[in-house]
């Protein structure tokens, strides 16, 4: 990809989003350990983080990064805060069929029947199951663009309006997209949509505007259970790398060879 297409970061930002996640992980431990002192601690860490982001000397070099996301489905409680945060952060239309990220609920019955739903993308959570009898297991699965390393959407775009950044994020150039929707057809995960007003393809950007400021994506930020782990794929000492070492990792639709960079732990075989 031509480097000229890289969105340039504003001057004076913290280039280390991984640290933010470190802090989160640390914070979670601290929360569990001493619930009473937590609010104070949150305040301290937030202030410290804020101060770091305003550091004037840091530039953002996409070559230093290669991003992915881990999702631990066993931690997802289906609260939908990630969906709401994404819509607010990225100005995604509020209607119920435009989502950068959404949450699916799977209900596997004892007779083998699998019922999947995602009412309004799970943004308001999920209604209780009609009957709890006959349910073998049930779980939630957050979905988003897989930021594939071999993305069919990028391959099919006739004008090259959708592209992979050097730091491994699949983006759409809204000024360039002709709105042919071939990328939406080519995405096996249903992760793209056409913006009803801009008439260009829309999708998850991993909150790129936040990444270049040293922040994690909004969905990761708000997840109350730490089901989403964001960070560097290739560096060893990062939360994502640790997550991938410590869990059995699966990706969605591996037979299509799209090489997704959203890595699932505890993924049920029913999930497509």
């Amino acid at each position: 990809m031509p480097p000229s297409r890289e969105p340039s970061p504003p001057a004076g930002v913290n280039p280390q989003p991984g640290l933010e996640v470190d802090r989160r992980t640390f914070l979670e431990g601290a929360l569990k350990a001493c619930a009473a002192g937590a609010p104070l601690l949150v305040g301290v860490v937030r202030v410290a983080g804020g101060a770091a982001q305003e550091s004037p000397d840091a530039g953002y070099d996409p070559q230093d990064h290669y991003y992915g996301m881990g999702i631990d489905t066993s931690r997802c409680i289906g609260c939908g805060r990630c969906v709401a945060a994404c819509k607010a952060e990225n100005d995604v239309p509020a209607e119920s069929h435009y989502f950068n990220t959404w949450v699916e609920r799977y209900v596997v019955r004892t007779d083998g029947e699998v019922v999947v739903d995602s009412p309004n993308g799970g943004i308001d959570g999920f209604p209780p199951a009609e009957s709890e009898s006959g349910i073998l297991r049930t779980f939630f699965v957050p979905k988003l663009c897989n930021h594939c390393a071999n993305p069919p959407c990028v391959q099919v775009c006739p004008v090259g309006a959708t592209f992979i950044t050097e730091d491994g994020v699949v983006l759409v150039d809204e000024e360039y997209c002709i709105g042919c929707r071939y990328c939406i057809q080519a995405c096996p995960y249903g992760a793209r949509w056409l913006h009803p007003e801009k008439h260009v393809a829309g999708k998850c950007t991993f909150c790129y505007h936040r990444l270049v400021k040293g922040l994690v994506p909004a969905c990761v930020e708000v997840c109350p259970t730490g089901a989403r782990i964001f960070g560097e794929v290739e560096h060893r000492a990062t939360p994502l790398a640790r997550f991938m070492r410590q869990n059995e990792i699966q990706v969605l639709k591996p037979h299509l060879n799209t090489k997704p960079k959203v890595y699932y732990a505890n993924l049920d075989g029913e999930v497509r």
Partner: protein, 397 residues
């Protein structure tokens, strides 16, 4: 909606206009391949339709990009496909394949085919038509035997290049769908070949229809030998087309991949009318049986001898049914490929809107437009044998 679909799949992305696009380009490729029968393969019986087939191909080719443009979110940026094409993209090649086919194949072939007549018409006409023909001949007024031999030879060579080009044009359209690995209904290596043969079927049927209707409107006698030959070729092309589609179908059924369940559900419910009734029964089996029995495709004179009037009527009906069938094929591919979720857990619905840019009215208008263009082309370049200027060389000499 039935079962579960990804939230972003609520809206169907490719609508009726995108059904029209492969249908129209198929007619172009098919009509051209029919024309090449006379030119390259010396099937003399179909000579009365040669020029008509070329003009039909041109009329439809001029309309082919319009449904695509109408469908784009930003048609004003469409030129970017030419300026900065993504060479990995199958769709990026559309502009180049289209431009090649339009300019190098169709326009050149028509020009060489008509040059002699245009020069002679310009000499004998008055008024606007004289100037039109003079302009169209581009000042190449040499009617010497050598020049005419060159026209003939150039036309033949262009047709020889044109046949693989026509294959490319429509095979390419099939590839656009067949190469989408995310979509099990589309993803098939046979898709370009199936598209191609269904294109040939639709092109022959269209020219047959046009030849019959226009000749009747002109109160001229129909050339029965020509019609019989067209019907026979239509039958042969349909046999290959059906065989390929059956192969595709059986292959899917036998492999029985994870998508088979949802695709079967889709065929039994959402696509029942358009696939089982329109495409398979009315658009394929009925015309195949009729053509097989009455046309000389399998036996000289047909299995059942029929009076010319009845046979003409049966050909007309069969060709019309074939058009319905081929349009249904395009519908079933384009719309069918979007009616099931890529989660393979549910089906959605497509409601055709009546008006609007991608509505039924626009589709009908775009379907009628090539006929209007063809009418104008026929006015300027009459394709009838009796309209051709007689004995040009002697006249000039």
């Amino acid at each position: 909606m039935q079962g579960y679909i990804y939230p972003n799949e609520f809206e169907l992305q490719w609508s009726l206009l995108i059904v029209l696009y492969p249908y129209v380009t198929g007619l172009v490729a098919g009509a051209f391949i029919l024309a090449s029968l006379e030119r390259v393969f010396n099937v003399k019986e179909v000579t009365p339709t040669y020029r008509l087939a070329l003009l039909t191909a041109l009329a439809f080719l001029l309309v082919a990009p319009l449904p695509l443009l109408g469908h784009l979110g930003h048609p004003e940026r469409s030129y970017e496909i030419f300026l900065t094409p993504n060479r990995q993209s199958a769709m990026a090649m559309f502009g180049f394949v289209y431009a090649w086919y339009l300019t190098v194949v169709l326009l050149l072939e028509i020009w060489f085919e008509y040059r002699r007549d245009m020069v002679l018409w310009a000499q004998s006409e008055r008024g606007v038509m004289r100037w039109i023909h003079r302009a169209l001949s581009l000042g190449a007024t040499d009617l010497s035997e050598r020049a005419l031999r060159f026209d003939e030879s150039a036309g033949r060579w262009i047709t020889i290049i044109g046949i693989p080009s026509a294959f490319l044009l429509h095979g390419y359209v099939g590839f656009i769908f067949g190469s989408v690995k995310a979509n099990p209904w589309w993803s098939s290596v046979l898709m370009p070949v199936v598209f191609l043969f269904s294109a040939i079927v639709s092109g022959i049927a269209l020219v047959l229809l046009l030849y019959m209707i226009i000749t009747l409107l002109r109160w001229k006698p129909l050339d029965m030998a020509c019609l019989d030959k067209l019907a026979a070729f239509l039958f042969y092309a349909m046999i290959v087309d059906v065989a390929l589609e059956m192969l595709d179908f059986l292959h899917r059924l036998y492999e029985s991949e994870e998508s088979i369940e949802i695709l079967s559900q889709m065929i039994e419910s959402r696509l029942f009318i358009s696939l089982i009734v329109l495409q398979l029964t009315l658009g394929t089996i009925v015309p195949l049986v009729v053509l097989g029995v009455v046309s000389p495709a399998l036996r000289p004179g047909g299995f059942v001898r029929t009076p010319d009037e009845l046979r003409r009527l049966l050909y007309l009906g069969s060709a019309a049914l074939v058009q319905v069938g081929i349009f249904s094929i395009r519908w079933n591919v384009v719309i069918g490929g979007q009616l099931f979720s890529k989660s393979l857990r549910g089906l959605t619905v497509y409601k055709v809107e009546l008006f609007g840019l991608e509505g039924l009215a626009m589709t009908v208008a775009l379907l009628l437009l090539p006929f209007a263009i063809l009418w104008a082309l026929i006015k300027v370049l009459p394709p009838w044998q009796e309209a051709a200027a007689p004995h040009p060389v002697e006249k000039i000499a």
